[in-house]
């Protein structure tokens, strides 16, 4: 870095660097990081393709029918022309050619890939969305309210509350009402006790005595979840539940929130002690506003990075599950099950393996490159000054 380049970055009139908002700065750095930027581009293209895919292949009379079986036309290589003599006119591919060939039932692989794109996209985003929401809530709780003790009374309130919810779900309204009332009574007694009696902790009543801190509780939960081998756990749950796309999303989401929780907690722990938070508190701003307006925006960088990388992992996991035959039930195509069906014809019809394989690779690679680029950009320590 020479003095020359440094001066050019300064504004001539004021001698100060030109003002940029953080978003502009991030965008500028992203443009300079070629790998990350191409990752973002591929992601945008993938998004558009997936949306186009759901529009073109859904409905009762789709433009591109992924379920159209043409037994006369099976295992045709990519770009081959349909045989007009044997096919009824409604079974002809609308594009005039089989862009990616046909599979063992003569279904158009291109249409099936389009249908599968939507599955991968939604699984990636919904699963990571669930994980990030859980992660932010738990990580924020552990980071901001971490040193508060969970009292015996709290435990009672929660247990009775859960019992009430359980009874309500199993259709026993009388029991549910009783449990809910018990929960409310304990809560009111606790509130009264606290306001009447402000003594040293040693002389508190038993039900306001501390049990564990919120932080310990949440971090132990993270430890417990980390003890499970993740793919094995997902496989077990998905195999036991009825096959559906929603189950996969929820299960992947519920088993991958631990990383986000840790990041958010760490950010909250350090941000909580900073002067701007102390200032906000001194102004009498409420906890919720401090958390969501002041701390959260500053804690988003690692969350965004881990979310982007998480999408890549979720897409891979879904593909692996479909490959093993779990997940979205058969007539619906996913990239994983196209590949899994094609593996028997690996030497005769390699496009059935390569089309989904390469597409998964490109999409996952795009998310990984974009995520890693984002991490570099948002980490001021690694940023080259210029």
């Amino acid at each position: 870095m020479t003095a020359d380049t440094r001066n050019s970055a300064l504004d001539a009139a004021t001698g100060l660097p030109p003002a940029r908002t953080p978003w502009e700065e991030t965008w500028r750095l992203l443009r300079k990081n070629r790998l990350a930027f191409s990752g973002l581009l591929i992601f945008v293209i993938f998004f558009l393709v997936a949306v186009a895919g759901i529009l073109l292949t859904a409905g009762s009379r789709p433009v591109l029918d992924p379920a159209q079986v043409r037994l006369q036309e099976k295992l045709l290589p990519p770009l081959s022309l349909p045989n007009h003599e044997v096919l009824p006119p409604e079974a002809l591919p609308p594009l005039g050619r089989y862009l990616l060939g046909t599979d063992d039932l003569g279904r158009d692989v291109f249409a099936r890939m389009l249908q599968g794109a939507w599955v991968s996209l939604t699984v990636g985003f919904v699963a990571v969305g669930i994980a990030v929401i859980i992660g932010i809530i738990l990580g924020g709780l552990a980071g901001y309210y971490g040193d508060q003790e969970l009292e015996v009374g709290h435990l009672l309130v929660w247990t009775t509350g859960v019992i009430a919810a359980f009874l309500l779900l199993t259709n026993r309204p009388a029991g549910a009402a009783a449990a809910a009332a018990a929960s409310a009574v304990i809560w009111i007694v606790m509130r009264r006790e606290r306001s009447l009696y402000e003594g040293p902790p040693s002389r508190r009543r038993w039900f306001t005595r501390g049990l564990v801190s919120v932080d310990t509780l949440i971090m132990r939960a993270v430890d417990v979840m980390l003890c499970f081998p993740s793919f094995f756990l997902i496989l077990t749950v998905v195999a036991l539940l009825p096959a559906s796309l929603y189950n996969i999303m929820v299960v992947i989401g519920l088993t991958s929130w631990m990383g986000t929780t840790r990041f958010v907690r760490a950010e909250f722990l350090s941000l909580r002690e900073q002067d701007f938070v102390a200032a906000a508190r001194a102004l009498g701003i409420g906890d919720m506003r401090i958390i969501f307006r002041h701390i959260m925006p500053n804690a988003m960088a690692p969350v965004l990075v881990s979310a982007t990388l998480g999408i890549a992992t979720a897409i891979l996991t879904e593909a692996g599950l479909s490959f093993l035959g779990f997940g979205v039930p058969p007539p619906h195509a996913t990239w994983g099950n196209i590949l899994s069906d094609g593996k028997q014809f690996i030497f005769d019809a390699p496009w059935l393996t390569f089309a989904p394989g390469i597409v998964i690779l490109i999409v996952v690679l795009a998310f990984n490159l974009f995520g890693e680029g984002l991490r570099d950009i948002m980490n001021p320590k690694l940023r080259e000054r210029n």
Binding site: R220, C227, F228, L233, L316, K343, N368
Partner: protein, 319 residues
């Protein structure tokens, strides 16, 4: 030290207990029951199902089932619901099959990642660094099953070697040398596949660790006093960069039992991963829960070992 050991032992026991409860609940609260796995089989009369349920304690309340299960597990009497064989023996057998994969895979990972990572850190942003960085991302992103098929196509069409299974059918009568080579060839692909992800991740980690150390003042000092590059990089930088990796030895431990479900099912390798997969399909709860429990124990022991190793190699750390 003793205080730390005691504290973490207690903590880990509690965690293990919670893991056992959670995994038990997940398995048993899921809809469906093992006795209903084959409803069309005419042999499964209602009396038969009832007898099975009694035999497997499925008619008891959940907490009793939990206690019975872990009593059986700890006394080693636990049997598979599928074939009534002792679960621990089954796992032991499969473990011996997975062990060579694990050993070769780990050796490959650790021997390849370090040279690659160190070189790309030293030649930062050079062509080697850029290529390996991109390659590492490709290897992280490629679905294992797709990569497996690419390699199978390559190896089978180009090299004409057997790849599926643990050994070729009917090889028992061949000479020991042929048998040995056969085993080796069968081992190559699955272990390379198992190692690729690890190599990609670990080499990136080595690179970033090296880069951080190279930026330190004492490395600049070493260079300033005129030491040759090799001495600076390998004696001053590398030794310090190795610190976090020593602790990673503990974290390998869970991989011992993991085994890759996907890779083992592609290669028909009768290892732990496939066993888990088959157990899940057959709803063989004892096998699933035992595997889960052993993995959890290994994860916890692994983190304990890595904490202890950290203390041994880095005297600044007092736990």
């Amino acid at each position: 030290m003793t205080a730390f050991l005691g504290r973490s032992l207690i903590q880990k026991t509690i965690t293990l207990f919670l893991v056992s409860v959670v995994s038990f609940l997940i398995i048993h609260l899921a809809p469906g029951e093992p006795s209903q796995i084959d409803p069309l089989n005419p042999k499964f009369s209602p009396e038969m199902v009832e007898r099975m349920r009694q035999e497997f304690h499925l008619d008891k309340p959940l907490h009793i089932q939990y206690l019975l299960f872990y009593r059986d597990l700890f006394s080693g009497r636990i049997v598979s619901w599928r074939d009534n064989l002792p679960v621990l023996n089954k796992i032991g057998e499969r473990f011996l099959n997975s062990l060579p994969l694990f050993i070769v895979g780990t050796l490959l990972t650790w021997t390849f990642s370090f040279p690659v990572g160190i070189r790309s850190a030293i030649r930062r942003d050079g062509p080697f660094d850029k290529t390996t960085t991109f390659l590492a991302y490709v290897l992280i992103s490629i679905p294992g099953f797709f990569f497996a098929y690419i390699l199978i196509i390559l190896v089978v069409t180009q090299l004409h070697v057997p790849v599926i299974g643990m050994y070729s059918f009917g090889i028992d009568t061949a000479s020991p040398m042929v048998r040995f080579m056969d085993r080796v060839w069968h081992l190559v692909l699955p272990s390379v596949l198992g190692a690729t992800g690890g190599i990609a991740v670990l080499s990136r980690y080595v690179r970033s660790q090296m880069l951080e150390i190279i930026g330190q003042d004492y490395v600049r000092t070493a260079r300033a006093k005129g030491l040759p590059d090799d001495a600076v990089y390998y004696r001053h930088a590398l030794r310090n960069a190795l610190l976090p990796f020593v602790t990673m030895f503990g974290l390998i431990l869970p991989g011992l039992i993991g085994g890759s479900v996907i890779i083992e099912s592609i290669f028909s390798w009768p290892g732990m991963g496939r066993m888990a997969y088959e157990a899940i399909l057959a709803r063989d709860y004892p096998v699933i829960l035992t595997l889960n429990f052993i993995t959890a124990v290994l994860v916890l022991v692994g983190t304990l070992i890595s904490d202890l190793l950290y203390m041994v190699v880095d005297p600044r750390i007092r736990l």
